[in-house]
């Protein structure tokens, strides 16, 4: 009897915790964390910004992978597209824009123009690349996207048009906004963190809206069974293409932020090893959950940082990640978020499925 009692109490405790974790509270805590981080030491601000950018990169990638069932190994191409778009605008159009809007505000205007140009560039690349890639599935899709990514890598290094400055990449100088008495360095750790946080939160909300829209619902259906979707009248090829473009655009926004954070747009961004970061973060976090890529990016960057604090281990950090990835793939197919859900279910008890007398939990209202 006492064992059951204890079980019930634990279960009730779990329920109370679970019920406390409403979306509103999550949002409030998230907002609080975002504000508090701004007051952290500069390096921590930088690391957290890095996390936000990689999270958006993985989130955009997962629109295609977790939601539509297409594993791209070339999303670095769009990461680089956003980065080079803004870097080239800053380098070549900065003076022109300064002439038009005045030197004081021009760094901010140039940043915005560069962001838009980066995004347009990414979409312009994603339209043909996606059109060709979505003809293939599974491993063939992974390989063709990998090939496109590496094609971009070669083009950026060869630099036939004289725009990308070869292996050195394009230096990004964000400049200082000067409004009479107030001057703000756009590339300053905290200012840039604020810009990134606002952008990533807005983009994340956008992606969330997309996955919960009719469009996103159809994506999930295609992931589950493409031929059934076709039999219901859905043009699966077209839908995959559209998803590819949206996914690339989100990654492009992350690329724009990456350029400012790293102060350079470099060819490595479209190397397959950069594309793999999105894959790894998503798999570690859990591709089937909306927040999976975000959690995965957090784990990826903070574990890498933790390892880097031990010089003896640092040389082996990739080895460590390999081991972590193997463990996740073998034992936690649903990733870290899946693992957390499992723990939550344990705490709450399995009474979600079976009717019980426990009044601490109601199963009403958690439908679709």
């Amino acid at each position: 009897m006492s064992a059951t009692d204890t079980g019930g109490r634990v279960s009730r405790f779990g329920s109370a915790v679970a019920e406390g974790w409403t979306r509103e509270r999550f949002g409030l805590i998230g907002a609080l964390v975002l504000v508090l981080v701004a007051f952290a030491p500069p390096f921590q601000v930088y690391l957290f910004t890095d996390f936000l950018v990689v999270a958006l990169f993985a989130l955009g990638f997962n629109l295609l992978y977790g939601y539509t069932g297409l594993l791209s190994f070339g999303h670095g191409l769009f990461y680089a597209g956003g980065a080079y778009g803004i870097a080239i605008v800053l380098r070549d159009l900065g003076p022109v824009i300064a002439d038009v809007v005045g030197a004081g505000i021009s760094p901010l205007v140039t940043f915005l123009v560069g962001g838009v140009v980066g995004l347009v560039l990414v979409v312009a690349v994603a339209v043909p690349v996606g059109w060709l890639s979505v003809r293939l599935e599974e491993i063939y899709f992974a390989l063709i996207t990998l090939a496109f990514g590496m094609l971009g890598y070669s083009l950026i290094i060869q630099d036939p048009a004289g725009l990308t400055n070869g292996t050195d990449g394009v230096i990004v100088l964000l400049g200082t906004v000067d409004l009479g008495g107030v001057s703000l360095r756009v590339g300053g750790r905290r200012i840039y963190y604020a810009i990134s946080a606002v952008t990533v939160v807005a983009a994340t909300y956008g992606v969330w809206r997309v996955v919960n829209s009719p469009f996103g619902t159809v994506c999930k259906a295609i992931r589950e069974s493409p031929d059934r979707a076709v039999a219901l009248g859905i043009d699966v090829g077209h839908h995959r293409w559209m998803t590819f473009i949206v996914s690339a655009a989100v990654v492009g926004v992350a690329g724009v932020l990456r350029a400012g954070l790293a102060s350079v747009a470099s060819p490595g961004l479209t190397h397959w090893s950069t594309s793999a970061i999105a894959v790894i973060a998503t798999v570690i976090g859990g591709a089937t959950y909306f927040y999976g890529p975000i959690v995965g990016a957090f784990i990826f960057l903070y574990i890498r940082w933790a390892i880097s604090r031990f010089p003896a281990l640092e040389a082996y950090w990739e080895l460590f990640f390999g081991a972590l990835l193997i463990a996740v793939v073998l034992f936690f197919k649903q990733g870290a978020v899946g693992g957390l859900m499992l723990i939550r279910d344990r705490l709450v008890g399995d009474d979600a499925d079976e009717p019980s007398d426990d009044d601490a939990r109601t199963t009403d209202g958690d439908g679709s």
Binding site: S213, P214, F215, L232
Partner: protein
């Protein structure tokens, strides 16, 4: 009586093999038509031609558009276009969106039918008329109680019912049921047969069934078409067809019944 689906000299060759051999057939809207035949008779190829998954070597396919318009040539249509034109199918091997709930499965089909799949701004659940349509269909197919259950946790019989609900959610003119009782136990067979009867009575869609279970075939069919070696061997009422000597021979001649 109206013809809703018609094939003219439909033929499909795979190299030397003629899988479907000059099949001309008219499906009428006032009957449940069963297409039967021994394994290898060409039923699956015939279905794949009708749904646009395979392109015929020669011949044509005509489908009546929604609202009783004229027969339209759909021979060269893409599979999704055939579905949009009013031909829906269920699968012999259950093919539903396993990771989604029953309600979400049906919602996907309704989004397709409403033509809102590119809408990325509204919430998928926001359209009240769509949600009402989903409720109605779930009610009609008896799936209301398990509406919010993920499909990968359903029983085989329940999945087979979702299979049917999905195909019906796009409001087809013609509904091809591919072995609806596949893998079912006798109780489930009885249930699905009475469901098919009810649905046929309630809905405008014309039902075409392939089925191995001969009891089911004789039970629900108004008309039976027998395929053998890709060609129509017999065509008529169940009494006529099942007493036809050639049919008995075709079945006895193969060990696959």
């Amino acid at each position: 009586m109206t013809t809703v689906l018609k094939t003219e000299d439909l033929r499909k060759r795979f190299g030397e093999l003629t899988a479907v051999d000059d099949v001309s057939i008219e499906i009428d809207d006032d009957k449940i038509t069963s297409i039967i035949g021994p394994n290898g008779a060409g039923k699956t190829t015939f279905y794949n031609l009708l749904t646009g998954v395979l392109q015929p070597t020669s011949g044509s396919i005509w489908l009546r558009s929604e609202g009783g318009g004229e027969l339209a040539d759909v021979t060269d249509a893409e599979p999704h276009e055939v579905a949009q034109a009013g031909l829906s199918r269920s699968y012999q091997i259950t093919n539903i969106f396993e990771g989604l709930t029953v309600r979400e499965n049906v919602r996907v089909a309704r989004i397709s039918h409403e033509g809102t799949r590119l809408d990325f701004r509204s919430r998928a659940t926001a359209d009240e008329s769509v949600e009402a349509d989903i409720e109605e269909l779930l009610d009609l197919t008896g799936l209301t109680d398990i509406a919010d259950t993920p499909c990968d946790t359903l029983s085989h019989g329940e999945k087979r019912t979702v299979e049917i609900a999905l195909a019906l959610a796009i409001e087809p003119n013609v509904f091809l049921l591919d072995e609806p009782t596949a893998g079912m136990n006798p109780t489930e067979v009885t249930e699905i047969v009475s469901l098919i009867r009810e649905l046929d009575a309630d809905l405008d869609a014309t039902f075409v069934v392939t089925e191995h279970n001969m009891d089911v075939v004789t039970d629900i069919s108004d008309r039976i078409v027998v395929l053998a070696e890709g060609a129509i061997l017999a065509d008529g009422s169940p009494e006529d067809v099942l007493t036809d000597e050639r049919v008995t021979e075709a079945y006895l001649g193969s060990d696959s019944v």
